[in-house]
Symmetry: D2
Subunit: 437 residues, 4 copies
């Protein structure tokens, strides 16, 4: 990569998150000289895309930045010559997500966007599209970095790593949120903290936490066990059992609640679905409000209300990655990359989420040493589910899909796995061309 | 080992299974020249031991065998100079087993002797006793082979491998029963069949089945899916889903039903517990009847009724192992031994159940190659549970016990894990000296 | 494989060894009902092939066997419908072997048929031919087993495993010769002995030796150290240092002398080359004498003189393998097969030589556990050489060839590696089409 | 570690290198607030130690630093309360090194301080002493970091990692020298360069080199092949073969010449030994001159002549490590640490030299991915030698020592290994208490 100004292609540019990304870009122009942002979306998102485009132009103008802003349905034009391709799209929109949440609940199984059968369904819809995008990148921007924050980020990144030659890093706002929450409970600056993370996307542990050179892992676990606030917008804040945290000896991520506190989380989900609607159904409303705001000619900045939406720090996580690569920073980030022996009992070619040194070379994981059985059992089980899901999604393989769901720890047995799989395939029929053979 | 006549020490000699073992010994005297059988039991089993001793003498006399039969409470005398030590005891008797079955059911969790929280409780009671026995063997019969069929056989053998220098092989009647059932459904002789097994005790798969040189794995899966009889006395014969078996691509063991058909098995267990009582409660009755039979002076052979008891082929499994070792046969058996790279993603020092070549050298596993994610996730998860259980049992470590149960796929979450653990520790208080510190 | 009578295809049928193979077949007809032997050779071997064909017919007639004997240049006809394909050819004949022995000696480097630069040159000539044969087998006899004893057997088998779908086992007479020599020094029957072997072809150790249930490894090492006869026809019997054997703790194979006693072996080779000629040059004379004998109409059996030739037990090694596969014996043999974790620090896809259970399923290695650094360093170094050699041979890659020789422990440094490589490529120009691009 | 001022203990403080270290400390006082330096040495080095102490005081005074300087024979006093313990001693002094160089040469084997039999002898002398030091650290300064640059640094660090609980990092000036030489040939600043290093001490490769975000590995190899200066003071600058470098695909370190260009290096060593004396014999002279200079009351800075001595960048390498740990920098350094899966085919508990992120947590290696056979064979062979050497040195085990030398690629065979071992043991008798049992 040369140090010339950058072109960013944003796939799924009509997302309500985009203003945060734009704000992040404008804040960092001295470090990351962006000359062009090309937003692209599909036909169904045309209207939103136009709103985002207009708002972005107003933000760029206000910042006095010299930058081309383009918005189109032409994905190939967006990718052509891009230095970074950022993927943040949602196949099937929020309605598909609502289905992902509702279907498992019918069977008394966790219904969640990225974890359990919901994440499985989302992977089936998303992976064919991302592979298609990658074909364009291989052809039109072979040296570009694709930063994927389309969920389920681990599964999507694994498909890209296994089936394409695109240089990619998957990222997520969970690790950065963990850092922020821990900084708050320890009453320190985030940059004074270091977390040694290893696991899978939405199943990542901080195996050790360091504050100004001191190992504070036990202190953090104690605070979380004592009830310190430790959750994210979209996850119910079930309290953690202090004995369990002590036995675990590593700091779980908020999403671990689905695995460790399954029954309480399920009960909460069912109650909420009945009353306020599922998370997707709530978000639909937020989205409508946001786009109304975005449409105002008076608005030339990211509105505060966006923070309610949930994806805190996404912009920072992704643009700090761009900074680290572009400026060859060799700084530590938690990313989704090829395992390559980092967790030695997992195959080399799967994707894990871990602390890594990011620079012009991409991301090099740091060695965390052998993990103990208290985390390795769950990682192995969920990774088996993920490997099977990627194969099912790429090849439209029913058997692999069935084994995937049967291997997911949130699905109690094969009877439920089959019922849920069949309903997912039926409901998502239009988005699953790979299964229509 | 020299080719001189053999002394067998049978720990837990007062078991109702013993007559089958005695019959097996008498049948094989030409291959295995046993000169002495020393049965040993604890005070509480004194009466049963006397019945077994008398019956054994009658059986030996009828066979005209030249063999010393001893029965005592003196474990050290039994072990002194033994060539094989066979362990088949049950700490706490059938009442403890009934507790193991009842406690989890209260929490809507599978209640089973060897799998799930029931097996966990049994491991906590058994492991301290087996380590104590091993100290005697190290001192009094350091060259003896200990053949362990005390359940949970995998966990118990792992504790022995990790914490003693005793030469040991763990064994189980499940693999031999699988072979017998497959022979029946394929209408062939068992010796024409070969199964390539690898997994854990009560969680073992035949990854390939061979009949006279043909790979018949798919045929067997088809027959099982079509409803061929494929269960054991003590496991409810839930039907298998043909699609699932096809997706799995390996032949599960009957105990896999607890993991793959959890809800149906739980429902069946709850119904049975309500009506006929749990399996232990049923067995208590059978046991009483058996010992009444055994007491008859007229009886000088294993009575037919023993077969109802459930442990089919235990005698064959263990004495064929004695034969293979004593006569250096290099024959294939499915046994519980140190992993040592057989399943490469598991640590070297854990115990697995697998096909192995047995001879004077003990058991050498055969390489089965990398296992796929469809089985590896579950093996890894259950092995993590097992590693934590062994540590909890050896060190009386509450935290490890909690993580063990939380890692068991049959326990839905940590809330349940904690409730069940606390009740197990309380109920088994008298049998868990390691936790009374 | 069905139990119908068998067709054997013997590639390189004009070899002087063939009468031993024929004798072996005729001896085993009750266990291995061969209905057809098809010998095939290249144009240059036409005359020899005719001699072998005639002798074979006389042997078959004398034995009164009902068997078709065919000899032709038509490799495809030979392979068509074969059950076993046996490969024993020599590209370039004995003259090429003489070059393999002479070239390294010029540079003060061991000159040997299978080890060091000689084996490297032979691999370059042989691998393209074997891959060509495999294409025919894939097309014309996809269920056939190829038993390869073409040297260097480990390298050739690795190329087949990596680049074809042919079912193959590589074999060698070294392990069986070790067993025979150890039986002689221990004054026992070979069948009473078991060796646990693992390593690479011509670099295999017996890590433990068992005699009637006793571990006799230390006794064997002591006898070898004390000067017991322990070599093969074609390897100079340099005495072994008893201290070294004790430190090694495993029984080396005779070929290990090239690595452990390099300077003495080199001195002996140079002296012999000067006086009697290299081994190949000596063998040329023996071959002429043998074929003269074979041509005699009066001869209808394997002549005694063949034993001087060197390949003792080749016939037994290969036909016992046929027996084990055809009759599904599950017996132990030392073979060259895919590693698949047997030696965990080597890649799965390389070929090793090890004890394995052979039956209708092919060969399943037995687990020997982690090997210590005293053997692992050398195995790893030689395997690196082998991996690079296979790549060089398949792709005609000069760089890989240079790295291969530079990685061979018998080649002192890269200067020598380059000089030797260049001379090998030049001398073998006609046999190395893959390098002529 | 708290942010309070630091105490440094320097074991082997009387070394001629010490003024460089002192200069480095004084240069960095703003980042590393050292309050005390305690130099310690043995009786034989008393005189030199006094010279160093006086010079240090003059340097500290000139810098106007507020720092206690202590020099004593009392190792325990030095270690008591130290934050960093730096080990840079030489058991037996330069005379022992001269023996290490001379003995192998008698047998036509590379005679070098750290590589081959010379490094082996040095390890035997050094390891018992370092373990003794570590006992003091465990008792008197359990939280201190020991930075070891006593050679052979990899072997010494491995002994510490395996046999003590001391927190340690081994370091070497080779990687930093590689960076400096590459910066010079690429005409760039060293800080613009990043090398991805992995291997063993004095056997480390830069698998990839990056300059301002560009992969320049091939360019560097080309320049080295074309004759760019690429050696260190103490290593003869044999030219590199461009074809070989291209085939290797990784940048070797200057010490690789001993392995890759063995015969030329040996010839050069023999010629030099005859004329100027071995390296140690030359250094003795330099040392005398240096200490004469150091004694001058007028000198209050590191004299230029020290640079001729050879250990360029040692001070920078070690003090940058102190900086990274003390200030929790998370910066990249090449260090000797526990493998822990970084090179997956080597055991977890061996020490490797690799790029790592250094901070208050110590050093976390970065994952470099699977290495190819072109480097893995040599690493595995040398690591086997190292593992055996550590065992020989710790336990005084002759057999392990013999296997170690026999496994070293620079020793041609076991005859030479034995002769050299016996002479090393005899010559070093006074320094090898562990072998006198």
């Amino acid at each position: 990569m040369t140090k010339s100004p950058l072109k960013l292609a944003i796939i799924g540019g009509g997302s309500s998150y985009t203003p945060e990304l734009v704000e992040g870009v404008l804040k960092r122009l001295d470090r990351i000289p962006v000359k062009e942002m090309h937003f692209v979306d599909v036909e169904a998102g045309k209207e939103k895309l136009a709103v985002i485009e207009a708002l972005t132009r107003r933000m760029v103008d206000k910042a006095g930045a010299d930058m081309t802003v383009t918005a189109s349905m032409d994905r190939r034009a967006a990718i052509q010559g891009a230095d970074f391709v950022m993927t943040q799209f949602r196949v099937g929109g929020l309605q598909a997500r609502a289905n992902d949440e509702r279907i498992p609940l019918k069977y008394d199984v966790i219904g969640q966007e990225t974890t359990g059968p919901g994440g499985f369904a989302k992977a089936l819809r998303t992976i064919p599209v991302i592979l298609d995008i990658c074909q364009d990148i291989e052809e039109l921007a072979p040296n570009a970095w694709m930063l994927n924050f389309t969920n389920p980020a681990g599964l999507v990144t694994e498909a890209v790593q296994k089936y394409t030659r695109v240089k990619t890093i998957g990222l997520c706002n969970v690790p950065v949120s963990m850092k922020m929450m821990i900084a708050e409970m320890m009453d320190c600056q985030p940059q004074e903290l270091t977390l040694e993370c290893a696991g899978l996307n939405h199943l990542v542990w901080a195996h050790r936490a360091w504050l100004r050179g001191q190992d504070i892992t036990a202190d953090v676990l104690k605070k979380v066990g004592d009830g310190a606030s430790y959750s994210m917008k979209n996850i119910s804040e079930e309290p953690w059992d202090p004995d369990f945290l002590n036995a675990l000896g590593a700091i779980p991520c908020p999403y671990h609640r689905y695995f460790y506190q399954t029954e309480a989380m399920l009960a909460e989900e069912k109650a909420t679905a009945l009353k306020e609607g599922t998370r997707a159904e709530q978000v639909m409303k937020t989205e409508r409000e946001l786009f109304e705001l975005y449409s105002s000619e008076a608005l030339a900045e990211k509105p505060e209300q966006l923070e309610k939406r949930g994806g805190a720090y996404y912009s920072d996580a992704s643009l700090n990655l761009v900074d680290a690569i572009y400026n060859d920073q060799k700084s530590l980030h938690v990313v989704n990359v090829r395992n390559d022996g980092t967790i030695p009992s997992l195959p080399d070619d799967v994707v894990i989420e871990c602390s890594a040194v990011v620079g012009s070379w991409g991301a090099r994981p740091i060695v965390v040493g052998r993990l103990g059985p208290q985390v390795l059992g769950l990682i192995s089980q969920v990774k088996a589910y993920e490997q099977l899901t990627v194969e099912a999604a790429v090849h439209g393989d029913y058997d692999k899909g069935l084994m995937a769901l049967a291997s997911n720890p949130l699905v109690p047995d094969i009877d439920k796995a089959k019922l849920i799989l069949d309903e997912i395939l039926k409901t998502n029929h239009d988005y699953l061309p790979q299964f229509r053979h």
